[in-house]
């Protein structure tokens, strides 16, 4: 039996490898150009094509949502995805292989920042055009981007430092409420804070400030968990962090001036795609910088052997405190963005369900890995949207999937992989 499967899969694998071989030489620049072209193509001909294929409207998330809602449309969806995404991207990747590599090499002759910015601009343009199709896609896109930041920030503690922290919903709540309190009280006429203080167009300066404030509040709150972590780790810290999440939730429920259990709403609509994109890129960049420095690697040393780390001059207390505050800061920023995307939060948003969600993203994607956090957050969000038509059965399928991952790949899909920007943007031949 085993021999049979081998003889079946081996040629298939070989054929796949031969097919994929030319694509391994495609530079990121070409891939992004392909994606941009696909997005523009969809903008131009997506609607008529979808109509011709009998899909009614443009499939929002690669047809994932349609698959379960109307299985009869699956062939149409496949054709659509093939024509709009796969073929154009594949074609452009192949056609521009030489040019892309040459350009990428050319760009790297300037400081790396130049090339990085060019890639980011391409990525942003793609997302912007792709997200332009409708509000739902735009919303999912923004929430997914924020999830990447939140997942990565939790990965700092649970992956890089190896503590099992359950405090993230608490940090998110602190950031969400901290940022919202500023923007709602200053800029919105509402029942809680009264009339707006400012009426002018100050959002562009106040919003970053309020997000940072939310992050700082979360970072200060994280000391409640960080200080006990000096003495003990493992289960006991997990419980403390869990208690912290409950305390924050309960505390906000009792805080009448931010709406108590009814929640806080009518945040100004400032978290648009460019804003979210910039914050997430900056967050990922800073976190990646940190975890790749020797100071950041100290987190790994503390995780793998704390006594050895201490004996090798690593200040373990400082390391732990920095890790918690740093992680909480970005979680707070993510929470603030989240609140301004949904424009409504209440304390029960930040409970056990949220905890299960963020843990799922981290452990699904992979510990100790930026790639993992991206894969985890994007995968989880897409899956979550795709399964939406199943209603409550979604919350059976997602847990089952996660259990299977835990059984077969306990550290997640792409764990322990360095995110090297230079390697990504470099020419591939």
């Amino acid at each position: 039996m085993a021999v049979k499967t081998d003889s079946f899969t081996a040629p298939t694998k070989r054929r796949l490898a031969t097919f994929w071989q030319p694509y391994t030489r495609v530079a990121m620049l070409s891939w992004l150009t392909g994606a941009l072209v696909a997005a523009i193509l969809e903008q131009l001909v997506g609607r008529p094509l979808a109509f011709m294929l009998g899909l009614g409207k443009v499939p929002v998330l690669f047809g994932l949502v349609i698959i379960l809602k109307a299985p009869l449309l699956i062939p149409g969806v496949i054709v659509y995805v093939l024509l709009i995404y796969i073929l154009p991207i594949g074609l452009i990747a192949r056609l521009t292989t030489k040019l892309g590599n040459k350009l990428a090499a050319e760009l790297l002759r300037y400081p790396m920042l130049v090339s990085t910015v060019v890639h980011l601009v391409l990525l942003y343009a793609t997302l912007q055009i792709w997200g332009n199709i409708n509000d739902y896609r735009n919303l999912v896109l923004r929430l997914t981007l924020i999830s990447v930041l939140i997942t990565l920030s939790l990965n700092v503690i649970n992956g890089y430092m190896g503590e099992f922290s359950c405090s993230h919903p608490g940090f998110l709540a602190l950031g969400a409420y901290g940022a919202s309190a500023v923007t709602v009280s200053l800029f919105v006429n509402d029942n809680l804070f009264g009339p707006a203080v400012f009426t002018g167009n100050w959002g562009w300066i106040i919003f970053p400030f309020s997000l940072i404030l939310g992050g700082i509040i979360a970072a200060i709150g994280s000391l409640v968990v960080a200080i006990p972590s000096f003495r003990t780790r493992g289960d006991y810290l997990a419980i403390i962090s869990l208690a912290f999440t409950f305390i924050i939730k309960s505390f906000i429920e009792n805080l009448e001036f931010v709406g108590g259990p009814r929640g806080l709403s009518s945040q100004p609509d400032w978290a648009n795609l460019p804003t979210v994109f910039i914050w997430v890129v900056v967050g990922v960049w800073v976190i990646n910088n940190f975890v790749r420095s020797t100071m950041g690697k100290a987190l790994n040393a503390v995780r793998d052997d704390e006594i050895a780390a201490d004996a090798m001059t690593v200040n373990t207390r400082r390391t732990k405190m920095v890790a918690f505050m740093f992680s909480a800061f970005w979680a707070g920023v993510g929470g603030g963005l989240f609140a301004h995307v949904l424009r409504y939060v209440n304390p029960s948003t930040f409970g056990i369900q949220k905890l299960a969600e963020v843990l799922a993203m981290v452990y699904f994607g992979g510990l100790n890995s930026v790639y993992g956090s991206i894969v985890g957050a994007v995968g989880f969000n897409l899956l979550s949207e795709a399964l939406r038509p199943l209603e409550i059965f979604k919350w059976i399928i997602i847990p089952v999937l996660l259990i299977l991952i835990m059984i077969f790949r306990p550290t997640g899909l792409v764990a322990f992989k360095e995110f090297d920007v230079h390697q990504i943007i470099a020419p591939k031949e």
């Binding site: 800073v286 910088n289 940190f290 420095s293 020797t294 100071m295 950041g296 690697k297 100290a298 790994n300 040393a301 995780r303 793998d304 052997d305 006594i307 050895a308 780390a309 201490d310 004996a311 090798m312 001059t313 690593v314 200040n315 373990t316 920095v322 100790n368 322990f416």
Partner: protein
């Protein structure tokens, strides 16, 4: 001037007396050995001097600065590098990252550098890496630099631990049974490496060993510890012929 000076150090674990009235003085560049049967308290002395435990009584100074009450990372930064009896490596890190990590105390780029990748950070990280490579060359493990430590043979791991301890820029190196679990071939190599490191860096060495031959060949002076007390101290020859030491090792072949 004495480099490491310990006076009347005593330590109790609960009611158990682990170390009693221990005295030591090591000169710069000296190689000193500490022998004794299992459970004599040798590793405890290392742990007391490196800040893992705080001695119940007594004083210890490095270059005249007290070590008592300081945390392990402070003591390490002051100039005591150490290895561990049972290897303590970081299982998800590469060999080079191990050595880099021990330069932690010398980093001055701070959090700003760590977060934003400043020019100072690039410069310092490059310097650290260069130093790490040099140390790996010194112990003959540079060809493993990019490998993960979980895949390497035991003898190599011992050398990596030594290079890591050297990266803290120690004035004195504590080696806790550097040849434990090694075959005769590896043992010979280890002895050569210790000699090489000693002559290259001029660092003082304080080592715990079970293998008499190893200690006798390497050390300038040797202490024998039994039940937490020093029963004999002197040159290798004196120790080897000391009736008290022979009695403590009774039944044991001195050459194993």
């Amino acid at each position: 001037m004495t480099l490491l000076h310990v006076q009347n150090m005593t330590h109790y674990f609960g009611g158990l007396r682990a170390v009693y009235n221990y005295n030591l003085s090591i000169e710069p560049g000296e190689i000193r050995g500490l022998i004794g049967p299992n459970g004599a308290g040798k590793s405890t002395i290392f742990n007391l001097l490196t800040g893992v435990h705080t001695p119940t009584e007594g004083e210890a100074t490095l270059n005249g600065v007290s070590l008592i009450g300081k945390s392990p990372h402070e003591i390490a930064a002051m100039g005591i590098g150490r290895t561990f009896q049972n290897l303590r490596l970081w299982r998800h890190m590469s060999v080079l990252e191990h050595i880099n990590m021990a330069s932690y105390a010398h980093i001055t780029y701070g959090l700003v550098g760590a977060f934003f990748g400043t020019a100072l950070r690039q410069k310092q990280e490059a310097e650290i890496e260069e130093k790490s490579y040099h140390l790996l060359q010194l112990v003959g493990a540079d060809k493993f630099a990019d490998q993960n430590v979980t895949n390497l043979p035991y003898g190599i791991l011992r050398r990596i631990e030594m290079a890591r301890a050297l990266a803290t820029n120690p004035k004195i190196l504590f080696l806790d049974e550097p040849t434990a679990g090694m075959n005769p071939e590896e043992l010979k190599e280890m002895m050569a490496i210790i000699r090489h490191v000693h002559s290259e860096l001029g660092v003082a060495i304080f080592l715990i060993e079970h293998r008499m031959k190893f200690v006798m060949e390497l050390c300038d002076r040797v202490q024998t510890l039994v039940f937490g007390e020093v029963i004999a101290e002197g040159t290798p020859d004196e120790i080897q012929n000391n009736p008290l030491v022979i009695e403590a090792y009774l039944g044991k072949d001195l050459d194993t």
